[in-house]
């Protein structure tokens, strides 16, 4: 195992969050992704050893959840919602355009390792459709052009900021650390809510 003492200590602190240590398997897998970008065999073996599970048991969990990747993904992992509503609202067109533009298919990565592409399911932002998620940050009300600009920016190392998120788009690994429950101190950035979230409130204030 080649996790550093510091990394190992973080894993132990993640384990200690829970009354029973097996519960920590999911944040630990996110943590492994924050280091390697995907679930490595080293990660599986380390988690198994720490949680006193078989490697098969850890594999069973890691392969169940779609956010855990068995192969490397891009520094910017682009998820385009093609569930019904977003697809109809333009997600299909966006996916096809971005896929053509990058010359990669679903679940593939650009050769420079910068951008990977995934069809994603509903991401709970339907009132912002069509939605694109990059490293699981919201990019609302996308168009074919805005999505192409987004991936171009990402490849150039200069992606635009998420619509509802931090001022600067973080990398896949950095955001994986947040999903492991490790704070990056960016909660205060970004708006409280986007326009559609405020629809009812606005109408109410207008006396409707």
């Amino acid at each position: 195992m080649s996790y550093s003492a510091e990394q190992s200590a973080i894993m132990d602190s993640i384990i200690s969050r829970y009354p029973r240590k097996r519960s920590s398997i999911m944040p630990l897998l996110h943590f492994v992704q924050s280091i390697s970008g995907y679930v490595t065999s080293e990660g599986i073996e380390t988690i198994a050893a720490k949680l006193e599970l078989s490697t098969a048991e850890v594999t069973a969990v890691s392969t169940f959840y779609t956010q855990y990747k068995s192969e490397p993904v891009g520094e910017y992992h682009v998820g385009i919602c093609t569930n019904t509503l977003c697809a109809v609202m333009g997600g299909d067109a966006i996916f096809d355009a971005v896929s053509d533009h990058l010359d990669i298919a679903n679940d593939e990565m650009t050769s420079d390792g910068k951008v990977s592409l995934e069809r994603i399911e509903c991401n709970a932002a339907c009132d912002y459709a069509p939605v694109v998620m990059v490293n699981w940050e919201f990019f609302d009300n996308q168009t074919v052009q805005s999505a192409k600009d987004l991936v171009d920016g990402a490849r150039a190392g200069n992606p635009p900021a998420p619509t509802r998120g931090p001022k600067t788009l973080r990398t896949w690994k950095e955001n994986s650390a947040v999903l492991a429950g490790l704070s990056d101190g960016l909660a205060g950035e970004g708006p409280s809510a986007g326009g559609p979230s405020l629809l009812g409130l606005k109408l109410s204030k207008e006396g409707k």
């Binding site: 078989s54 490697t55 098969a56 048991e57 594999t59 069973a60 392969t63 169940f64």
Partner: protein, 778 residues
């Protein structure tokens, strides 16, 4: 927990398809229906596994007190309730359509490879598709395909296309064996059984998953494509490998054993067995089998001989000699009895011993003290409040005891203490408290069970201490030898201090019992020699003939073979296959393997495990029949033409009802304390190792646990050795080098597998336990 129906269990009456049935509370609907003879189709359901409700094949309509469930329910997950009315596919159109619908779905992705599938002809999917499915499929889509098959171990192959994802195998591995090395991976339509890529399915019990797989998804590498079920003749049998006493089924086609399966016996092995019992049977058809009697000629070579010639040569070689008899540990009770009688009647000696392994005089005394009191059972384990394992590793040495204990550990956190030098994997699974010192065991009651293994003979004073502990605590005590034949051999009197039925040799009235049963005027009165003494006596002529029935001399000592080889001792070997003994024997007589004869083993509980001849037309003779013929030839008949004749005699003789011999009284000796460069050697035989009866089964051998040197953390640090680094253990005789495993073992100790590939303690080091050995970084 006992499944016995006792009066305090509430009984519930339900109506199924119009018939009343009364069953204990908690019974699942699917099983209540079985009681009426109503077969509800099913795949994931298994009575010994936790309910899954996954396959949905067993859907039925249920109403309770007039309230109908809005949709059909899985009868494998619903316990009966008062006022319940169940309609199965026989009386409910909804249930029938639901079942046919599920069956159609199960088949859409199932390959139509039944003609080449091992399961074809005995396949629950095939059978139930016929009984509860549609006439034809409406599926016109693309079938899911996978690489077929993949090896999840050297002995189990997985064909994912055939899998119906019932999770029987994964539940078995986790719940029954405690080996969760196969799991359901991925999700949805791509969900599949799998292993972690680097860690194969190395479970001692993996074969059970093949047996309970309701389709042909899991197959045994050794049986794959070998036969059709309808070409096999099945015979109920018993396992010859260990003292657990599994019921088995042996499947034979045209005189050849093609597979063995776990038989059902709720009292013993339930429906499980270990992989050794299932797959280690190739020795029967080995090229090394002794094909005909052989007599060593003047040229010093063995030559094939006719039975009359060989028997005459054997009789001549034994006649008038001071002979000893060594009986192997896998002798049936009938054969052991024949050896016991042959020794006394034909050879006139008590010099007979079944202990073809490390043994002691203290042990013989202990065995004499318990020979008439073998009365602890699996049920006692089910009910025990505390089980103490002494020099006994159930997972390696009696795997069904392991399964039984593990079941109670999972169910009710049964307390287990083990007296062992280290925490084995089995002990870890059992959550056992590991103690090195027997005197630290406390808190035993009359509901506690002490299981002592044969390796207790390797520690002076251990059997004495065990006897004392049992007596003072009131706990039940059972001796669990490793091999299948030893308990029977003890009862049969194949040991120097006991006659059949546990009768002390030194007791005149005990001898009278046997004299009258055998119709002989006298019996030798002096207690016989132990195995080691017999071998030693051959070196100075005190013994000048030995009869050896299935003994590997290296199991006894490093010197044993040499002791026989270097002297003029006449050696008669009764063997299945050519061995170190046949190589030096003067006369070799081929004997039948278990599947070629009928007989019985007595398991550790004292329970007879009868088996019939599975290979009906085998002409190979049993040891009993040969010994009887030899005794005739010698003019001292023992009149045992068959196993049946033995059984009859044993029955008539019965158990000794006189005073049992007293327990041994031997004081422990203090062992030398090794310095830092040395350690005290500990070892035991792993379940899968270089044992003779495992010969020829490479697929099985591939799942054996590789040899490791277990050392403590501080020793590893002192040696500068990490996990997996090579370590050499050596004595004046030789050395063993194997990867280190840093484990919970005493700092002064080292552990090696006793007889595994790369680690044969007796052959390589000259000892198997207790010796001070040198430990160094390789």
């Amino acid at each position: 927990m006992s499944t016995e129906i006792t009066s305090d269990v509430e009984m519930i009456t339900v109506v199924i398809d119009g018939f009343d049935v009364t069953v204990p509370k908690g019974t699942l609907v699917i099983r209540a229906a079985e009681k009426l003879g109503i077969q509800i189709p099913r795949f994931c359901d298994h009575p010994l596994l936790s309910p899954a409700g996954a396959c949905r094949q067993c859907l039925v309509d249920i109403e309770i007190n007039g309230r109908a469930f809005p949709k059909p329910q899985a009868s494998c997950t619903i316990p009966v309730e008062n006022g319940m009315i169940v309609k199965t596919q026989l009386t409910s159109e909804v249930a029938d359509k639901a079942q046919k619908g599920i069956m159609e779905l199960l088949l859409i992705n199932h390959p139509l490879d039944c003609p080449v599938c091992d399961k074809g002809g005995e396949c629950p999917l095939q059978n139930q598709a016929m009984s509860n499915g549609r006439e034809s499929t409406r599926y016109e889509g693309v079938k899911r395909t996978y690489e077929k098959p993949t090896a999840i171990s050297s002995q189990v192959l997985l064909d994912r296309e055939r899998c119906v994802l019932c999770a029987r195998c994964t539940r078995f591995s986790e719940e029954i064996a405690g080996d969760p090395f196969i799991t359901l991976n991925e999700r949805g339509a791509l969900q599949q059984v799998g292993i972690y890529e680097k860690d194969p399915f190395l479970s001692y019990f993996s074969g059970n998953t093949v047996q309970i797989c309701p389709v042909g998804a899991l197959t045994g590498a050794s049986y794959r494509f070998r036969s059709r079920p309808f070409d096999l003749v099945s015979t109920p049998s018993a396992c010859e490998h260990c003292a657990s006493g599994c019921a088995m089924r042996t499947d034979v086609r045209r005189g050849k054993t093609l597979r063995r399966l776990a038989g059902e016996d709720a009292e013993v092995n339930e429906e499980w067995n270990c992989d050794k019992g299932r797959w280690a049977f190739k020795y029967i058809s080995s090229k090394e089998r002794v094909a005909s009697p052989m007599v060593r000629g003047a040229d010093g070579e063995l030559h094939e001989a006719s039975w009359p010639e060989a028997l005459a040569a054997a009789a001549a070689g034994l006649k008038g000699k001071r002979a000893g008899v060594l009986v192997g540990g896998r002798s049936t009770i009938e054969d052991s009895y024949a050896y016991a009688k042959f020794a006394r009647v034909a050879l006139g000696t008590n010099d007979i011993d079944f202990r073809a392994r490390l043994h002691s005089d203290e042990e013989a005394a202990f065995l004499a003290s318990i020979a008439t009191r073998i009365n602890v059972s699996y049920r006692d384990l089910d009910k025990a409040d505390h089980v103490v394992l002494i020099d006994f590793e159930p997972e390696d040495e009696s795997p069904i005891i392991f399964l039984r204990l593990y079941k109670q550990v999972r169910k009710r956190s049964l307390t287990i203490t083990t007296i062992a030098p280290l925490a084995s994997r089995g002990s870890e699974k059992l959550g056992a408290t590991v103690l090195s010192d027997l005197s630290k065991v406390s808190g035993l009651t009359e509901k506690s069970v002490i299981l002592v293994g044969e390796r207790a003979a390797e520690t002076m004073g251990r059997f004495t201490a065990v006897s004392t502990l049992a007596k003072s605590s009131g706990a039940k005590l059972a001796w669990v030898p490793r091999r299948a034949g030893e308990v029977g051999a003890l009862i049969a009197g194949a040991i120097g201090n006991l006659l059949p039925g546990g009768r002390p040799v030194g007791d005149a009235s005990a001898r009278v019992d046997i004299q009258s049963a055998w119709g002989v005027e006298s019996l030798p009165t002096k207690a016989g020699k132990a195995t080691w003494e017999i071998l030693e006596a051959t070196t100075d002529g005190r013994i000048n003939a030995v009869v050896v029935g299935g003994v590997d001399p290296l199991d006894v000592s490093a010197e044993a073979l040499g002791q026989l080889l270097d002297t003029e001792t006449f050696v008669l070997s009764l063997e299945i296959s050519h061995s170190a003994i046949t190589a030096i024997a003067d006369v070799v007589l081929p004997v039948a393997a278990v599947s070629e004869k009928s007989g019985s083993f007595i398991n550790w509980e004292g329970r007879p495990r009868f088996f019939e001849k599975a290979i009906a037309d085998s002409l190979t003779r049993s040891d009993t029949r040969i010994l009887s013929a030899l005794a005739d030839e010698m003019g001292t008949p023992i009149n045992l033409p068959s196993a049946k004749a033995v059984a009859k005699e044993l029955q008539a003789i019965g158990k000794w009802d006189g005073a049992a011999a007293s327990a041994p009284d031997v004081s422990p000796i203090s062992l030398p304390v090794p310095d830092a460069a040395h350690a005290t050697l500990h070892s035991w035989r792993q379940l899968l190792d270089l044992g003779t009866l495992q010969a020829g089964e490479e697929n099985l051998a591939g799942t054996a646990r590789p040899a490791q040197v277990v050392i403590s953390k501080s020793r590893a640090e002192a040696l500068g050795v990490g996990e997996g680094d090579a370590v050499t253990v050596s004595t004046a005789r030789g050395s063993i080098t194997a990867p280190a495993h840093i484990g919970a073992i005493d700092d002064s100790a080292v552990w090696l597998p006793r007889n595994s590939n790369g680690s044969q303690c007796i052959a390589n080091l000259g000892a198997a336990s207790g010796l001070v050995v040198k430990v160094a970084k390789a």
